[in-house]
Amino acid sequence: MQEQTLRALIAQVKDGTMSRRAFTRQMVALGLTAPMAWLMLNHAGVAAAAAKFEYKPTKAGGGGPLKMLFWQAPTLLNPHFAVGTKDQEAARIFYEPLAGWDAEGNLTAFLAAELPSTENGGLAKDGMSVTWKLKQGVKWHDGQPFTAEDVVFNWEYAADPATACVTVATYKDIKAEKLDDYTVKVTFKKPTPFWPDPFVGVRGMLIPKHLFADYKGAKSRDAPGNLKPVGTGPFKFVDFKPGDLVTGERNPDYHVKNRPYFDTIEMKGGGDAVSAARAVLQTGEYDYAWNLQVEDEILKKLEDGGKGQVVIVEGGSIEHIQLNFTDPWTEIDGEKASIKTKHPTLSDKAVRDALNLLVDRGSVEKYIYGRTGVATANFLNNPPRFCSKATRWEFNVDKANQILDAAGWKRGSDGVREKDGKKLKYVYQTSINEPRQKTQAIVKQACQKAGIDVELKSVTSSVYFSSDVGNPDTYTHFYCDLQMYTTTMTEPDPALFMNQFASWEVATKDNKWQGRDITRWRNEEYDKAYRDAEGELDPVKRAALFIKMNELVVGDVAVIPVVYRPNVRAVESKLKLSLSGWDNDMYLVSDWYRETS
């Protein structure tokens, strides 16, 4: 997709022949993010549509308790320390950012009075700064007023390496200054095309200066506020038992009128996903269950319970198989899969093409993931109806056989193909997770039919996803031929995502396997496109570059995308809510309500 095509599409949205939603979905199909689509439309001056979600209650309170189950329990409540999504969700009940991303990927204001734009002077033409106007009259839960001081403090707090915040990357290269009590100017070090990052969304939740000022830097861990949050959000903190339970009560002074509806909120952690789904769908003990990575077959049966339904949230992640471009079985200077080597068989494009044909995504979708995993050919997420022709997926054992025959891979006496003494024998690893083992089985069977021998290996998640330098079983070491996992794309800015194929990001011993390019795939054209995108201020040109990068990766079969995995939640029948794939589930918990009838 070229820049011109993109511009034509934007023009269509502008004159109303195409809906915003359709445009956003098409961009998502091309491997971009919904927030990126928003940025393009915003840049072109297309007014944002109001969020679809309709809030019906006419007064705050009176909704009784809201009970939620998280099978991974929150362990801390300081948003700047939030290690996983579970912690961010828990923090989001009490804390808010200046703005967040709604279900359609539109930027919406929370603690900001209005969104910065070129028209209102909030966005600098050179992409060097953003000026935020803050909402006035907002109070922290302890009654103190929320001001620009607090916003600036959050920058100081998070940018200080000694505080060791996980949000540091967002804040370390910016400068925040107070222009007046309700205006904050964010200055970037270099022209920044994707400006809605600091103080926005998941990493933008704001903590109060008056409670954390004494606990900046190395003392951060002693702050009482880490366990007793005082925020501006719809619920006030009541109790927190790390790894078990978070409870809150309605904030009577919430800054949005008539909200929230529920009187108390409870987030219970622990257990497993299936029984969490049971508690919502079958017994109705709970109202909401988070992140149900469960076979759809089971979910459907549970839905028959009639107490609730499964909600699928667009956005998300992609389950994909990575192909190793280096040789994982030869050790050079104490490092296997060194970039000085080439994979003996996977470096042959014919073999990669054949493997691509042998992944039966249709069956994986139909029989394992169902609604919770849609077959895809693009590395980045895309519903199949938007698939571009170039990256269609196909499952065809015969064709794979033909390709391998044509490329000179002959079956040996054991039925395994070989050429020049090199056999098509692969070790295929993944983390231990029910659907993944089933997918492995399906791929293995198809490969067998094509004369490719696959040995399955599975590593416990806590090891596989660790960053342990000494352990060869981590996914970044990638000491085998094929591996499969889900890469999450909740990052609004695709740049963070796409750097995993940039040649300078190759995971090696020198960088302690911290590099993000795990397949060790390298391509000059890709590198150039990525560099170009970094400084490109025109969001449309930038988008075109990302689309090109995506096509390069998929076209060369550096990865084999399997299924696109939307977020799956179970929700009690009468609970009405809005969930966004680009922000935390709790981003709009203030507006959740229960229908009475």
């Binding site: 299936v274 077959e297 029989y367 492995q440 089985a441 399906i442 416990t460 079983d473």
Partner: protein, 313 residues
Amino acid sequence: MAGSTPALLTADARAAREGLAPQISPALDAWRRFRRHRLAVVSAVILLAMTLAVAFGPALWPVEINDIDFTARLQPPAPAHPLGTDDLGQDLLARMLYGGRISLAVGLAAMVVSLIVGTLVGAVAGISRGSIDAALMWLTDLFLSLPQLPLLLVIIYLFRDVLKAVVGPEGGVFILVVAVIGGFRWMPVARLVRAQFLSLREKEFVEAARALGASTTRQVMRHILPNALGPVIVAGTINVADAIIAESTLSFLGLGFPPDIPTWGRLLFDAKDYLDIAPHWALFAGAAIFLAVLTINFVGDGLRDVLDPRRVM
């Protein structure tokens, strides 16, 4: 008691008669005693049948264990699939037979390891007392207090590739699994045996043997150990069940056999979320484990009677 008295009488009577017939070898004698324990004989037969089934069954029921058939998913038992199918349409009978090899082998081997180590440690500690007892009990306490999960991860990390290189992938994994499971289950046995020893060594019949000048080894082998075996046999059966389940847990840690090998514990685990949809899936695996435990227990009881003729039936 009343019901068993005749058995006791006939046993004594026969024992008396056999005592008069020196031409019968001790092995034959043992076999006769074992044979009289009817449940033990039946159990031994069933256990043997199970062993044969898993050993030769895959040849007689030549369905691939990983033959995926999406048209026949979660089917209840039927002629085409005598034990039904799982959620990928794979034949459960073939999987049970194949996985049973590993489950039974691991269960039995791990039990034997844990019993031997446990009995040895417990017996030595119980008979020697003093500093040897203290040291062995320290070792027992150490093993009891080690957190298993991190230790397993360390073991995988340190030994998997080494063993794989030395004894090949399958053999290496088997040795590792048996060592790990057995190595974590001998402590109760050791404590039990030691406790029995502490008590038994002061009993009259042992004192009598001591007074007659029996060596320590003879006291242990002839008098104390046979009387201390009761809890050991119970521990043995419990350990078999435990080991079969534990094996499946290990494969989650990447230590056991690859997760695509359908051992019984693994089948049970996979089936649990489908319990209300396809109960047959869990039923047969659960029943197989139960049957294995049951038969091993009765065989154990029979064996003890062999070792200890005074046994009440």
